[in-house]
Amino acid sequence: MKGLEELKDKIHEILPDLDLVIGWEQGYDGLHATPLFIKTPEDVDRLIIGPLCVHNLATYLPGLKDKKVGVIVKGCDSRAVIELLQEKLINKDNVVILGLTCDGVINLTKLGRKIGSLGAVDDVKVEGEKLNVVIGDQQHNIAFSEVKQDKCENCIYPNALVFDHFIGEPVDRVENVGAEHQSLSDFEGKSFDQRFAFWKHEMSRCIRCHACRNACPMCVCRDHCVAMTRNPHWLSQENNVAENWMFQMIHVMHLTGRCVECGECERACPMDIPLMLLRRQMNRGVREVFDYEAGIDAQNRPPLLTFKVEEDNISEREW
């Protein structure tokens, strides 16, 4: 991510016409950025951009429908904005999009695997392809590519796809572009029984905090989620494997053809449940059957809201 000063200048320029601009600032330690809601010119000074800026800020947009909002987006985040526009869940007139170019953001879980506890990190610096993590008097030098988020590994969209103002110069990315994430084919190495057991094991850890849902930019039902009602009674309040599993099924089904693979669900999960596996599998189907990717063009029709009399890629199975 480049162009912090240009970005700040732009925000100063547009802030008078807006209620707020959403960006990032440094969080409680050197490792964590946190969303920043800029309302005054002074707030702009706190703005940061970089590999720690993991949060998809588009998630906040549907909740700020009646405000005029500026939002800073990476390429992946911009897809969520497009999908929201596509589904008419936000009004373009009320949103000013500040597009960035991005070289990937950090996956703290992966970093944790490399250096153990992340509890006392003082500072993180990116030096070229290296990440320098400072913990007290210790220094860890890690290849950034090894601790990037999964979505960054084969990212095709390093530049914001939709924007009112683009900051910096768009970059080209050619390596591995669009390749399906390794995790899916790895997972396919397991038998069906092993996969089923895997999810039982993972779901036993789920605390049903709904962070995956609330961090998801496409989960717009919010206070009216079917997981939280007895009418209809899809789920009980019980926090057990079967109900946790069903909740995740609801989440993934409701994201069919809408998921932009921003990975916020998995990042938000405090229990590190690899939810993106489910999303990737569903998105693979959407890609194969409809040659469709969510959040690319606001004029596209989401695949489940339409049909073709003769589907191109659905061959009726004979009996």
Binding site: P35, R205, I207, C209, A215, S236, Q237, M271
Partner: protein
């Protein structure tokens, strides 16, 4: 301080195995990338260096518990009922019976249940499920040697070696732990041969604790938070600003060792059913949604205000200034948006109303 004994790292597994004979033993385990409390399995691993992702409150206040189960039957028509059938319901109450040992919690986690007790074990209110579990659960805690950037136990009346809520406190030293009995039940457990009275590393232990205390730095003074927060009760813009980045999930409350709210629902299948108690989450819209569809805490600002206010203001005013927070920092560390409760309280404390 009672006598300290040494528990060697290599004998922990065997010690826990002996406990298994009489108790359910919960230990922190790596599962995926998280550390969670799980029943100890013979020969199974343990994770004692990383701070557990979940809190040990599950031992005394499970995520979900069946309070009772019921079966409905319809009797044959009764003459005295005018020839009508009379529904009969068979109830079975499920009071917890197990005895549990939690091994490897940190002092902050063990302290959580004491915050429950002021609510669920009072003159007026006795929660038999909680009380039974609490009284049948022993905490063998490990003093904290590596405080994290999210830790603030010393700001809320705890400390890296605080023994409140623990039965035995272990302090990590070379090759093992110095153990100290906090309660009689703890002392009884320490009679086990795995605890060696001969090895003395008290000084090393002392140094470990001091190092941790130093690392935690200056405690934040929350003493005036109670009234400052109350003053801000009607200040909507303050709370809107504080809650702007909150996404209204339940990570903070569900990982919190001190959050004690629950929900009760009846679930039925055919003629049988059960009454289940599950954790509830004040950050959720439904927490205060009324049947009329009115919701006194309709916005996340109001809900966050409640969570912070409850912990640092309302609870202390009801319970002798005890803050309903143990400073473990899980709510900060695991928050998807890195919302920092310390910062919110501090902002409240430092808030100056320009209109006054």
């Amino acid at each position: 301080m009672s006598q300290q004994k040494f528990l060697a790292s290599q004998s922990i597994g065997s010690f826990l195995e002996t406990l298994l004979r009489e108790h359910r033993v919960l230990v922190p385990l790596c599962e995926g990338d998280s550390v969670v409390f799980r029943p100890f399995r013979k020969g199974g691993g343990l994770e004692l260096t990383r701070m557990p992702t979940t809190s040990p409150k599950e031992a005394t206040f499970p995520r979900v518990e069946t309070l009772m189960s019921f079966t409905q039957k319809v009797s044959a028509p009764q003459e005295e009922d005018g020839g009508k059938e009379r529904p009969e319901i068979e109830l079975t109450e499920h009071l917890p019976q197990d005895s549990t040992v939690v091994f490897g919690s940190r002092p902050c986690g063990a302290k959580g249940k004491t915050i429950f007790s002021r609510v669920y074990d009072t003159e007026a209110v006795k929660d038999p499920y909680f009380i039974a579990r609490r009284d049948n659960t022993l905490f063998i805690s490990i003093a904290c040697s590596a405080p994290e950037t999210t830790c603030f136990c010393t700001s809320v009346g705890g400390g890296p070696a605080d023994s409140t809520g623990s039965d035995i406190l272990l302090i990590p030293v070379t090759d093992g732990f110095m153990a100290e009995a906090v309660t009689e039940a703890g002392a009884k457990l320490m009679e086990s041969a795995f605890f060696d009275a001969g090895t003395q590393k008290a000084e090393e232990a002392q140094a470990v604790v001091e190092r941790a205390e130093t690392k935690l730095g200056q405690a934040q003074d929350f003493s005036n938070a109670r009234e400052k927060l109350l003053k801000l009760f009607d200040n909507e813009s303050f709370w809107e600003e504080m809650s702007a980045k909150c996404i209204s999930c339940g990570t903070c409350t569900y990982l919190c060792p001190t959050c004690y709210c629950f929900n009760i629902t009846d679930e039925t299948a055919g003629n049988t059913g059960k009454r289940v108690r599950t954790w509830d989450n004040c950050m959720d819209y439904l927490f205060t949604l009324e049947a009329s569809t009115h919701n006194p805490r309709s916005s996340k600002a109001k809900r966050l205000k409640n969570r912070v206010g409850h912990k640092f203001s309302y609870y202390p005013s009801l319970h002798e200034e005890h803050i309903a927070c143990c400073g473990c920092g899980r709510c900060i560390k695991s928050c998807p948006a890195a919302v920092d409760i310390r910062q919110i309280v501090k902002s409240a404390q430092e808030y100056e109303d320009v209109n006054i």
